[in-house]
Amino acid sequence: MTPLTYDVVVIGGGMAGFTSALYLTGQGYKVAIISKGDPVCCLSTGCIDVLSSDKNPLDGIPGLSRDHPYHLVGKKGITDALNFFKRIMQDTPIPYSGTPRKNRTILTPIGTAKTTCLVPMTMAGSETESDTYIHVISFKGLKDFFPSYITSGRRNIRFSLYDAGTSSTIGIATLFEDKSFRREFISWIQNLELPHGKVAFPAVLGIRNPLKILTEISDQIGREIFEIPTLPPSIPGLRLFRTLKSSFIKSGGDNYWGKVIASVESQGDQIEAVTLKSPGRPSRVPGKAFILSTGSFVSGGLYATRNTVKETVFDLPVFVPGTRKDWFKEDFFQAGHAIETAGIKVDSSFRPVNTRFGNLFVSGSILSHAEIMKNHCGHGLAIATGFRAAKICEEFLS
């Protein structure tokens, strides 16, 4: 056995980090992921938004600001990355539906239509435009999911409530893993004698094998079924995260979870290792190359002080849009607050600009000018830049 220096150490276990890590383990590299905790992806709908402005998400790219990271990846790069993601998910319990060249809409818990690109197969049947009859089946007391929001906005939708004996998304999703619960639930639906059309559920149809459960119910009640994503705690987000993490582990990757980076060891322009803050003795994770994908403010990759913004691991220079008074618009709900452009500026090889580190690459929402909230490009950006950064990292290693 040789002393273990990882080929690549990925810092940040979210969509971008896992995309990089899965690509690299797939190419035979030894990879570790260090993460402070579970990513924002756990709170997401599980859908992959690429860009919401046009029918083809890629058509919206020319309209983005000059510095948007999508320009560094290009249309082909984005398509390749999304296809890579679809391929990875294909062999898991949560395959995805859709193509990178077409946006679609899904039904939300308040009855509106959300534009997105790739969706988990359990949401593939989601209807927002046609006049098909939809019957929503929700659960008594389920928090933050009020079917009347959906029915009040549209004709031809009705709902029924099932008493599962518990009222959290996690609790109900756990019950769905149990065969006898499903049996009782299915016979309850059969007794409703629903009109023809589709049946929609909040996204709680199990955690580990949702598609299998959905198919089982669908077969037995003879109706097409789809899931509606819920507010956090979001089961589709949790499924996506767990699936990525277990795919990574299965591919031979190591993970250090719940760990904060205490210090960075470097020699000249090369980072040699990071140490993790632990009670007692800090543990050391050495690597040949490093990918930073710690996310933006919510995930703790960026931290705002009163007057400036800091990058929390390597203290990289951060692009900050003007002074604090320029950061926010007056109206909170107006899209495009300037602070959204804050982040790390990278060159075309995804190395941070104005730093000495030659073996550090940056990807995901920590990149400057991504403006995820405004462009609706979160997971898409993470996958596209994570994939590209991994490919460049691979060139660097060989």
């Binding site: 579970d38 990513p39 009670p279």
Partner: protein
């Protein structure tokens, strides 16, 4: 980070095993940071559901803001226990060390009697769950065997904990002899319970008493150049984290800095070129169930990295489920239902993988999962020892 750093994102709620199956528990966010601001000094706690937390620490590992969720809950549990009478079963389990000592002294009798119907009836009256067979005791404990093995430049003191001592000394002996065969001097000093059962049952004073005894012993060896190694991941987490943390032991920092998981230690020996490991073929497909407290240690999964080097061994790493036993937690009648449901969930995930055996670092996880899957369960070191036997 204090409770004020919580941004209410609910990631911890997604990770809480108890919340998954018990609607009476409001989840780590509400039980921890949310309720914390109402827990004022001098006001009696009313949050009796806080005792439903099993201290698996999954909330803390998942928290993206580094909030010490389970520590907040642990302190709330201790506060609740201080202010209320604890049930008899809690006193019993806090004293696991003494009871196990008695149990192993009278092992043949005790093991027989504990399986009798009438004894189960008595235990049930005392609030003890009887659905899971009680672990049997061994008279020839680790403490009653060789206390010193091997020679070499590397010296370790082995903290075996209660389970390996009283219930599975064979595993302890395997680890002792494995280390010795790799050129490590192993010492097994007299030691107490790590203190976790007392801490988990609301008896801070007793936990500190144990911790102080152990810390004094271990520190003496550390001063003489020994490293501390542990095999039980819950004992390990207590030594590394709680001795300098919630138990606030004077020598806590020293213990914490010098304590290693046994597989972490083995890996370091191999990676530094001190020794070589040439495992022989072991043809088996296993599910490696990661104990929650190994996750919480944040040292990665060192045993998995050794197991992956054993030719013929196919290892499915399972880390999404808590086994539900959580030491004495699942042995209490009031938690029996929660524990059973979690055990079944973890077991069905394992059964889907079609494995021949389960491997886990934690004795409690092994007991629980073996019971619900009907599969044999091993400590990783048992497989390593097996693979090192010359054919």
């Amino acid at each position: 980070m204090s409770f004020e750093h919580c941004v209410r994102c609910t990631v911890c709620v997604e990770n809480c095993p108890v919340f998954k199956v018990e609607p009476l528990f409001p989840g780590p966010k509400q039980a921890g940071p949310d309720a914390q601001r109402f827990r004022l000094d001098g006001e009696k706690s009313v949050d009796q559901w806080v005792r439903l937390c099993s201290q698996c620490k999954r909330c803390e590992v998942s928290c993206p803001n580094d909030v010490e969720v389970s520590e907040i809950i642990l302190n709330a549990q201790l506060k609740y226990s201080r202010e209320h009478l604890s049930p008899f079963s809690s006193h019993l389990f806090a004293n696991t060390y003494y009871i196990s000592g008695l149990g192993s002294l009278a092992a043949p009798v005790f093991n027989r009697v504990s399986s009798w119907g009438i004894s189960k009836g008595v235990m049930s009256l005392l609030g003890i769950a009887t659905s899971l067979p009680f672990p049997s005791f061994r008279f020839l404990t680790l403490q009653r065997g060789w206390k010193r093995r091997g020679r070499g430049a590397r010296k370790v003191v082995f903290f075996h904990g209660c389970f390996l001592n009283f219930n599975r000394p064979d595993i302890g002996r395997g680890i002792r002899d494995l280390l010795a065969s790799l050129g490590v001097q192993v010492i097994i000093p007299k030691q107490s319970c790590c203190g976790l059962p007392a801490l988990g049952n609301g008896d801070l004073d007793m936990a500190r008493k144990y911790a102080q005894q152990n810390a004094a012993t271990l520190a003496r060896y550390i001063d003489k150049g020994h490293d501390v190694v542990y095999a039980c991941t819950s004992c390990g987490l207590t030594l590394v984290r709680d001795y300098p943390g919630v138990l606030d032991i004077t020598l806590g920092e020293k213990i914490s800095e010098n304590t290693y998981n046994v597989h972490e230690y083995l890996l370091s020996l191999i990676e530094n070129g001190y020794t070589e490991l040439a495992p022989a073929q072991v043809n088996m497909t296993i599910a490696y169930h990661i104990p929650c407290h190994l996750r919480a240690l944040g040292i990665g999964y060192p045993a998995a990295r050794i197991l992956e080097r054993i030719p013929g061994l196919t290892c499915h790493l399972m880390e999404d489920n808590c086994c539900g036993l959580s030491g004495s937690y699942g042995f209490k009648k009031k938690n029996q239902g929660i524990s059973r449901k979690l055990g079944q969930l973890a077991s069905s995930a394992i059964r889907e993988r079609e494995v021949e055996a389960i491997v886990s670092d934690c004795g409690a996880c092994r007991m629980q999962l073996s019971h619900y899957t009907g599969l044999p369960a091993f400590d990783p070191s048992e497989l390593i020892v097996e693979s090192m036997k010359k054919p």
